[in-house]
């Protein structure tokens, strides 16, 4: 077979290109939902981990958040996905939902450490100034500390999201047809691994390149208040 015949078999015959697009759709859908969920869970867990009583003692919330982070970091994400699919949410047959939840919970653990670091990097004088005006800890967190922490966490958070996009490649384990699985299936149908696998790799690469550029733009915008 010539190169062009192999290309046609991998992408054109039977409108196979549509499969890649729907596979990419599933990949991005899961990554997006999981990313949003991860940021929400991660921020909450970070705040829990940083919560103290007025006289600076740790609370039960610290402990809960620490256990969550430990458990998630201490187990493989494929296994978490399988546990979610076959045990926790065995009654659901909505694979995208299950995968989004599983990745969201997984990502949340990493995000919580990123956000915690971002909050700790904000000068503690900012919190003191807010408190000295009579603002509560929660209000100062919300209006002063978190917006500044967000600026600190955009680069590592972007990194985490990029990891997430690629990590969704394991959803084939719960029979979702994401980009990786589609490419693999086409490879086995055409007896030619090269074109579909390299093709999928190129698609991932382009998507992530675009994400990287968007994140750079966002980061520059968030730094507006640093400009003189």
């Amino acid at each position: 077979m010539t190169i062009s015949e192999r290309f046609a078999a991998a992408f054109i015959t039977g409108e196979r290109w549509k499969l890649y697009i729907s596979g990419l759709g599933i990949t991005l859908e899961i990554a997006l939902f999981a990313g949003i969920l991860g940021i929400i869970i991660g921020t909450v867990a970070a705040l829990m981990k940083l919560s103290t009583t007025e006289d600076g003692k740790p609370t039960i919330l610290n402990y809960i958040a620490s256990v969550y982070v430990d458990v998630i970091r201490g187990t493989p994400s494929v296994l978490q996905l399988l546990i979610m699919w076959f045990i926790v949410m065995a009654s659901s047959n909505n694979g995208i939902l299950v995968a989004s939840l599983s990745f969201g919970i997984n990502s949340g653990a990493y995000v919580s450490e990123i956000v915690r670091g971002g909050i700790l990097a904000v000068d503690k004088g900012q919190m003191e100034a807010g408190r000295s005006l009579g603002l509560s800890k929660a209000k100062t967190m919300r209006y002063i500390v978190l917006p500044q922490a967000m600026k600190n966490v955009i680069p590592p958070l972007g990194n985490e999201f990029i990891t997430l996009v690629k990590e969704t490649a394991i959803v084939g384990y719960v029979s979702l047809s994401d980009l990786t699985r589609v490419a693999n299936q086409i490879a086995s149908r055409t007896y030619d691994a090269f074109m579909p696998l390299i093709g999928a790799a190129v698609i991932y690469f382009i998507v992530i390149k675009i994400l990287t550029i968007l994140l750079g733009k966002l980061e520059r915008r968030m730094r507006r208040s640093d400009l003189r």
Partner: protein, 245 residues
């Protein structure tokens, strides 16, 4: 206005040992007074100041503000702090907000004023410190002196009954100290009750109604500025003044 009874503060060090930074301090501050606290570093003067609005929790003792014991369990400390402004050594302007937003955030979020009233108040105060043209810039573009004047104004936006100053000029370039002290002097003339921790002896002499000397956690001496600087009683204060004056 403020009554401090037997205030004691211990810190726990990393090795688990306690060190006592304030020992059994008693003091009364009347409305309209300008109290200046001086002392060597490590004397507990800043800790004392920070205990007054409970940024530091006293280990023992009581603090009363207008008759209300603020150190009591269950006191709404946020309500108390609304009436007691604080200015910090490192300004601590909110970096993510413009100057105007810095000034209006607390009054609006705490429902002391609506947005429009807060902006009017802020505008008036910015005019008074000649910084109205900076209303829409971010703190990063301001000089230290400008930041500190804005920080003072930010506290004043809450209409506080008294103001605490934690070494407000120590982080400034020398040529900017004057502009900040001028604002503080103006504030003193307007009758604000002030407690100031500072190394500016000139300010203490000129503005203070009482000067306090703290050393090793103990309020060692307290007097009118004339007596304090001309006739220091303790050997320790005589030593201190001979070094700083």
């Amino acid at each position: 206005m403020i009554s401090v009874k037997n205030l004691t503060k211990d810190y726990t060090k990393a090795d688990g040992n306690h060190i006592r930074v304030i020992e059994g301090l008693n003091y009364e501050i009347e409305k309209g007074e300008k109290i200046v606290i001086v002392g060597p570093s490590g004397s507990g003067k800043r800790t004392f100041l920070r205990c007054l609005n409970l940024l530091e929790r006293p280990t023992a003792g009581q603090i009363f503000f207008d008759g209300e014991e603020i150190t009591a369990k269950g006191t709404d400390i946020n309500k108390v702090r609304q009436r007691m402004g604080m200015v910090f050594q490192n300004f601590n302007l909110f970096n993510n907000l413009t100057v105007m937003q810095n000034l209006t955030l607390a009054p609006v979020k705490l429902k002391v004023m609506n947005e429009k009233e807060a902006r009017e108040k802020a505008t008036e105060l910015l005019k008074r410190v000649n910084l109205l043209d900076k209303a829409d810039v971010y703190p990063a573009s301001l000089s230290g002196g400008q930041k500190q004047r804005i920080a003072i104004v930010r506290s004043l936006c809450m209409n506080p009954e008294m103001m605490l100053f934690d070494e407000p000029t120590s982080a400034l370039d020398p040529e900017m100290v004057g502009e900040v002290l001028d604002v503080m002097k103006q504030l003193a003339e307007d009758g604000m009750t002030m407690v100031v921790v500072t190394h500016e002896m000139g300010f203490a002499r000129e503005v203070a109604t009482k000067v306090l000397f703290m050393d090793e956690g103990i309020l060692l001496e307290e007097n009118t500025p004339e007596e304090f600087f001309e006739h220091p009683k303790t050997k320790r204060l005589q030593d201190f003044l001979s070094k700083v004056l």
